[in-house]
C-alpha cells in the first residue's frame, strides 16, 4: 500500500468513525441514564433522514440550514417516545429489560411501516446540495466535504455534550439521576421529566447524525439497520453510558473497518470489528470506559 492510500484509508476511517460515534452517543446516553437499550435507534436515524429529506423537498432549503429544525423535531420525537412508550415499559416488575427491548422493537417495525406509508418504499436521496458530492484533495488524500462537515459536527456535538453534562443544571440532573434514581426523587427532581429530556437529547443527537447522513446517503425505510448494529457495538465497546467511550470506540470501529476492507475480502470487513469488541470485553467486561 502506498503512503497516499494508507492516509486515504485512515482519513476515511476516521471521518466515518466520527459519524458512527455521533450515531452511537445518543444510544449510550439513554442507556447510561436509565439502563434501557433502545432497539429503535436505527429507526430514529431513519426518521431524522426522512425529516431532512421531507423538509428539503417542501422548503427547498439546503440540508445544512435545516439541521436545527431536524434536531428540534427529533428532540420532541425522542421525548414523545419516552412519554408514550418507554415510560410504560419501565413499569414491569421483572425482566423489564426484555420488555423494553421488545417494546422498542415493536416501535421500530411500526416506524418502518409508517415511513413506507408516508414516503413509499422508494430510495430517496438529496441530489444537489451545497456540500453533496464536493470533495477536497490534500496531497492526494480526498476528503469529501459532507463527511468533513459530519466530522466537525460530531466533534462539536461531543464538546457541547461535555459542557452540557459538566456545566449546566440539566446536565447535573442527568448525572444525579443516573447515579441514584431513588435519591433523586428525594431531592425533588422529577424523574420522568429528566428521562423525557434525556430521550429528547439522545434523539436530537441521532437527529444531528441523520441530517448529515441525508446529504450523502440514500434514504429508505430500512436504512437504519446496518447503522444501528454498528452503534450497538460502538456503545458496548466504549462502555455503556460512557460518552467519551462512544467517541473513542466510534473512531476505533471506523478505522478498523476501513483497514479491514483493504486487508481482507471486504464482504467480511465487519468481522475484525466484532472480534475487537469480543477481545475487549473478555479482558474488560465493561468495555473500554464503562462502569459496571
Amino acid at each position: 500500500m502506498t503512503a497516499q492510500a494508507f492516509f486515504q484509508v485512515l482519513a476515511s476511517g476516521l471521518l466515518m468513525g466520527l459519524l458512527y460515534a455521533l450515531i452511537a452517543v445518543g444510544l449510550s446516553l439513554i442507556f447510561g441514564l436509565m439502563d434501557v437499550v433502545n432497539f429503535a435507534h436505527g429507526e430514529f436515524l431513519m426518521v431524522a433522514m426522512y425529516a431532512t429529506f421531507g423538509l428539503w423537498a417542501i422548503v427547498g432549503v439546503d440540508p445544512v440550514l435545516l439541521m436545527p429544525l431536524v434536531i428540534a423535531f427529533m428532540f420532541v420525537f425522542g421525548a414523545a417516545v419516552y412519554l408514550g412508550v418507554v415510560r410504560f415499559a419501565m413499569r414491569a416488575k421483572t425482566n423489564s429489560g426484555m420488555v423494553q427491548i421488545f417494546a422498542t422493537f415493536g416501535l421500530a417495525i411500526l416506524i418502518q411501516g409508517v415511513s413506507q406509508l408516508l414516503f413509499s418504499p422508494d430510495y430517496r436521496s438529496i441530489p444537489a446540495s451545497w456540500l453533496g458530492g464536493r470533495t477536497v484533495s490534500i496531497g492526494g488524500v480526498f476528503l469529501p466535504l459532507p463527511q468533513v462537515y459530519g466530522g466537525l459536527i460530531s466533534v462539536l456535538a461531543f464538546a457541547g455534550l461535555y459542557l452540557l453534562m459538566s456545566r449546566t443544571d440539566f446536565g447535573k440532573a442527568l448525572e444525579a439521576t443516573r447515579e441514584d434514581q431513588g435519591a433523586v426523587a428525594l431531592v425533588g427532581i422529577d424523574r420522568n421529566k429528566v428521562f423525557a429530556l434525556g430521550w429528547g437529547l439522545g434523539a436530537a443527537l441521532v437527529g444531528l447524525a441523520g441530517s448529515v447522513l441525508a446529504i450523502f446517503y440514500y434514504i429508505h425505510p430500512q436504512v437504519g439497520g446496518p447503522f444501528a448494529l454498528v452503534a450497538y457495538v460502538v456503545v458496548a465497546l466504549g462502555g455503556f453510558g460512557s460518552v467519551f467511550g462512544a467517541l473513542a470506540a466510534g473512531l476505533i470501529v471506523g478505522v478498523v473497518e476501513s483497514f479491514a476492507a483493504i486487508a481482507m475480502p471486504p464482504a467480511m470487513k465487519s468481522i475484525p470489528v466484532y472480534l475487537l469488541y469480543l477481545g475487549v470485553v473478555f479482558i474488560r467486561p465493561s468495555g473500554l470506559f464503562g462502569r459496571l
Binding site: 476511517g13 458512527y20 441530489p127 446496518p226
Partner: protein, 414 residues
C-alpha cells in the same frame, strides 16, 4: 425431477376435489394469476414497480389494443371465452420460506392458474419448487440466477436471460470493442455478497479467463454496508480499463457517490443492470453516470424496431411515473407470455397450461424486448433471449450492442 409417485398423485387428486378447479366446459370469467414480490422491506419498491408493470400487461390483455403484442387485439383471453385476467399480489419479504408459504396460499386459497415472480432468486427457488409440487406453472419474470432452470423442473419458465447470457453479452461487447482497436486489458469486478453477486462474478471471472482479460480487482462487498470507501479505494488503486459492478440500488448509489468523493473517475463502467437500471440511482447520481454502459433485457430506444415499446411505456409511465427498465420490462413481457400460454391452453388446468407454455413461439417483433423470439427449451429457459448493451448518454439510454440493433456506436471511454 424424480416425478410424482402414485401416492402423490392420489393426494393431488384429493386436494383437487377440495380446491375444485374450474371445469373447462364452462369458461371462467376470471383467470387468477398470483404475483409474488417483496412488498415490504429493503426491496419493496421493486414490488411496487412490478405491480405497475403487471397491471399494464393485464390491461393490454384484458382490453382491446392495436399493438403488436400477443393477446392485445381482443378483449381478455380468446381461448377461454374472453375471460379476463385478475392478479393477486402477495408479499414474500425476501424470505424463501415466506415465499413458499404465500405460493401455497395463492395456489390453494386463491386457486391461481399460475404464479409469476419473484425478483429474489432465493425466493424464486422455493416458489418454483412449490409450484412444481402442485403442478402449477411458475413464470420466472426477473430472477436471473442460472441455477434456477437447472433443477429439472417441468413447470418452470423463464422468458428472459439469466446471468450467464448477460455476462456473455457483456464480454462479447468487450471483445468487439477490442477488435475495433480499443485497449481493454484489465477488468475490475465489484459485486455484492449475494446469490446475484456470486452468480454474476463467477461467470465474469470464467469469461475473463477464457477470453484473455486480466482481473486486477475482485471485490466482494457486503450488501447495504454503511460505507464503501475502502472498497472503492481498491478499485481506484487498480484503475481497471473496465469496472464491472453487480450491485442493487442502494449500493449502486453509494458506489458512485464514493467514487466521486475519492476523486476516482473509472475509465469505463459496464454494469450488470440491477441497480444501474433503477430510477432512484439516476435521480441520485445520474450526473456522474454519463457514459455508463449496462447490459439490458430492454432498451427504450429500440422503439423504431419495436413500435409497441412506446405504447407500453406510455401506459406504464402513467401508472408508475417512470420509464420501463430492465426489471419492469421483463415483468411486463413475462406476464404477456404467461397470458399467451393460458390463452392457447384454452384451460386453467396446470398441466395443459404447462404444455401450452412449453410450446410457446412468440416472434421477437411481438415483444417489447430485443429478443429473437420466445421459445422455451426443455429446462424452461428461453434460448433466444439475448441481451443488449445500452449506454446512458445525455440522460437517455442508447442501445450500442449488438450491431444489429445498435442505435449508435459506444462512446468509449465513458
Amino acid at each position: 425431477m424424480t416425478g410424482f409417485n402414485r401416492r402423490h398423485v392420489l393426494i393431488g387428486t384429493a386436494a383437487a376435489t377440495v380446491t375444485a378447479r374450474p371445469a373447462f366446459a364452462q369458461a371462467p370469467a376470471e383467470i387468477v394469476i398470483g404475483a409474488l414480490y417483496p412488498m415490504s422491506g429493503a426491496n419493496a419498491q421493486v414490488g411496487v414497480d412490478a405491480r405497475n408493470a403487471f397491471e399494464t400487461a393485464v390491461d393490454i390483455v384484458n382490453g382491446m389494443h392495436e399493438v403488436a403484442l400477443p393477446g392485445a387485439k381482443n378483449a381478455g383471453l380468446m381461448g377461454l371465452g374472453n375471460a379476463k385476467i385478475k392478479l393477486v399480489y402477495a408479499d414474500h419479504q425476501a424470505d424463501p420460506q415466506k415465499g413458499r408459504a404465500e405460493a401455497e396460499r395463492l395456489i390453494t386459497q386463491d386457486k391461481v392458474t399460475a404464479i409469476i415472480g419473484c425478483y429474489h432468486s432465493a425466493v424464486s427457488n422455493t416458489v418454483s419448487v412449490t409450484c412444481e409440487k402442485y403442478g402449477v406453472p411458475f413464470m420466472c419474470a426477473d430472477s436471473s440466477s442460472p441455477s434456477l432452470h437447472r433443477r429439472d423442473l417441468k413447470f418452470f419458465f423463464r422468458p428472459a436471460a439469466h446471468d450467464e447470457f448477460f455476462s456473455k453479452g457483456m464480454f462479447d461487447f468487450l471483445d468487439a470493442q477490442k477488435a475495433s482497436g480499443t485497449k481493454i486489458e484489465t477488468l475490475g469486478l465489484f459485486y455484492e455478497d449475494t446469490i446475484f453477486g456470486a452468480d454474476s462474478s463467477n461467470t465474469q471471472r470464467k469469461l475473463a479467463a477464457e477470453r484473455g482479460y486480466k482481473i486486477v480487482a475482485d471485490i466482494k462487498y457486503r450488501a447495504n454496508s454503511p460505507t464503501l470507501t475502502s472498497e472503492v479505494q481498491q478499485l481506484k488503486t487498480a484503475d481497471a480499463d473496465v469496472v464491472l459492478p453487480s450491485s442493487y440500488t442502494t449500493d449502486a448509489i453509494l458506489l458512485i457517490k464514493t467514487m466521486g468523493e475519492l476523486g476516482y473517475k473509472p475509465k469505463n463502467i459496464v454494469a450488470q443492470a440491477a441497480g444501474f437500471s433503477e430510477k432512484a440511482v439516476f435521480d441520485a447520481v445520474g450526473d456522474k453516470l454519463d457514459g455508463l454502459i449496462s447490459r439490458a433485457s430492454f432498451a427504450l430506444d429500440m422503439a423504431g424496431k419495436r413500435p409497441s415499446i412506446t405504447y407500453v411505456n406510455d401506459k406504464y409511465k402513467a401508472r408508475g411515473n417512470r420509464d420501463l427498465n430492465d426489471n419492469t420490462a421483463r415483468q411486463f413481457m413475462a406476464m404477456l407470455v404467461l397470458a399467451d400460454g393460458i390463452d392457447r391452453a384454452k384451460s386453467t388446468d396446470g398441466e395443459k397450461v404447462r404444455a401450452a407454455l412449453a410450446a410457446t413461439a412468440i416472434p421477437g417483433d411481438q415483444t417489447i424486448m430485443p429478443w429473437g423470439k420466445v421459445a422455451f427449451g426443455a429446462d424452461g429457459q428461453n434460448v433466444d433471449a439475448d441481451p443488449v448493451l445500452i449506454q446512458y448518454i445525455g440522460g437517455k439510454w442508447v442501445t450500442i450492442f449488438p450491431k444489429s440493433v445498435a442505435a449508435a456506436p459506444a462512446k468509449w471511454p465513458m
